[in-house]
Amino acid sequence: MISARQVSKHFGRLSALDALTLDIARTRITAIVGPNGAGKTTFVKTILGLTRTYSGSIEFDGARVDDDGKYRSRIGYMPQMARFPENLTAAELFAMLRDLRHADTPIDEDLISEFRLSTELRKPLRTLSGGTRQKVNAVMAFLFKPDLFILDEPTAGLDPIASGILKDKIRSERSAGKTFILTSHIISELEELAEDVAFLHEGRVGFSGPVSELIRTTRQETLEQAIAQMMKRGVAA
């Protein structure tokens, strides 16, 4: 669904992505892992067109991502940090996104009821707790039934119950044929969900392929151990 070729991005002298080449398969859950500063968020932002000057190319369903941004109507994005206009309510926020997306299609409000958010929707966003804001953030990614979900550290800041609800939602959308890109530091979480894994290190792809293959090649038992092994090797290299 996404194919990145030789993508390089520099911030001053720092190289965030270094000739990165990676394919994200359709209707699968791909976990992007790697140490801090490996380029996970930069990669995800480049797919979304948030990164401006980079070399190489990124294609979404065979078409290069560009400023036109129409392709973004097929993506649901959940950013790492949820900060919203202080004086708007979540209901207004949803209405704003709906306006911008011309979404005439029915929307997916399942998470609103499952998170029991309906009473929180009318309060100004500044009065909501961090966890509640993160729930609002999750709702927005799923609201417009996109084909591709990009979730950056989705369960960070969520309590175990909410985190479980979100994971169930991810699973059910996956069985409905949707594609997911997840990034997370909490490997055990990815273990439950991930089918493919892309290990980034210093802006390059250290490994990409099915989780089972990574576990086999590193001769470890679990994804967590396999990734720890990759990180050690990555640092050594």
Binding site: L48, G49, L50, R52, T53, D67, P79, P85, E86, D99
Partner: protein
């Protein structure tokens, strides 16, 4: 265009409920009312008000817009992940800031004049000019704030640059002009001074307003030259185009920086 209007609409709702905007509007309301009550006739009140406007608007607009945009950074990222184009988002954010700030100012200064029935007693055209110039300054300095925020990743540095910009245009520049005048006092420097006025939007606004108030005699010989210049059609055309340029220039720079920014 529709996307721009929609974004501006929601942002307007957000800012209209902001305590900062409320404070800003209340400030102008109280100052204008106090000046009209205790400051003698409408003319004198207008002059004092002009000084407050030229001092406060650039500062508040720069600081408010800079802080607002830095705080909105994550939200801007979220909006950029939607199927809209960057220039549409820029337009929406810019209008969403400029409209509440300028309309709030115009209402806060205009209404007391209506209440005190001071509109009729002041020289025709002075109150609309003051309101218009205040709004133009809001447009200019909001655009400058956009440019600063798009170019500087670090919010403390950005805020510092915003305040330095205000110091430069609001205070330092006049000092430099005075120095220039003192050094070249023996030379015919009216024309260069005219040029210098055009380079600073606050000075330009001050001159344009002072000449409306019929106090240009206070400016001495230079004042007479300025008056002569600004009263001609060419002078007026140059003043207006300079102010338009001062809006377009920073808006274009801000848009360019915003379009190139890596979020």
């Amino acid at each position: 265009m529709r996307e721009t209007a929609k974004i501006a609409g929601y942002q307007l709702r957000d800012i209209a409920r902001s305590r900062w905007l409320f404070g800003y509007v209340l400030f102008f309301l109280l100052v204008t009312d106090a000046l009209l009550r205790f400051g003698g006739g409408g003319e004198k009140a207008l002059l004092s008000l002009m000084n407050v406007v030229l001092f406060v608007i650039p500062l508040v607009t720069l600081v408010f817009s800079t802080v607002y945009l830095y705080n909105a950074r994550e939200f801007i990222e979220l909006l950029l992940a939607q199927p809209i184009r960057r220039h549409q988002l820029f337009g929406g954010l810019y209008l969403g800031l400029v409209i509440p700030l300028s309309v709030g100012f115009a209402a806060a200064v205009g209404l007391p004049f209506v209440f005190h029935r001071a509109v009729a007693t002041s020289q025709p055209g002075t109150i609309p000019s003051l309101l218009l110039v205040g709004m133009i300054l809001t447009f200019i300095f909001t655009a400058i704030a956009f440019f600063i925020v798009s170019r500087s990743e670090d919010r403390l540095k950005g805020l510092g640059i915003a305040i330095a910009t205000w110091l430069l245009f609001g205070i330092l520049y006049d000092g430099l002009v005075l120095l220039f005048l003192a050094i070249f006092a023996d030379h015919p420097i009216e024309r260069p001074v005219l040029g210098l006025m055009l380079l600073n939007p606050i000075d330009l606004a001050r001159v344009a307003l002072l000449l409306q108030f019929d106090v240009s005699a206070l400016l001495g010989y230079t004042g007479a030259v300025l008056r002569k210049f600004f009263e001609t059609t060419t002078g007026l055309a140059i003043t207006i185009s300079a102010l338009v340029f001062w809006i377009m220039g920073p808006v274009a720079l801000g848009l360019r920086a915003f379009q190139r920014k890596d979020f």
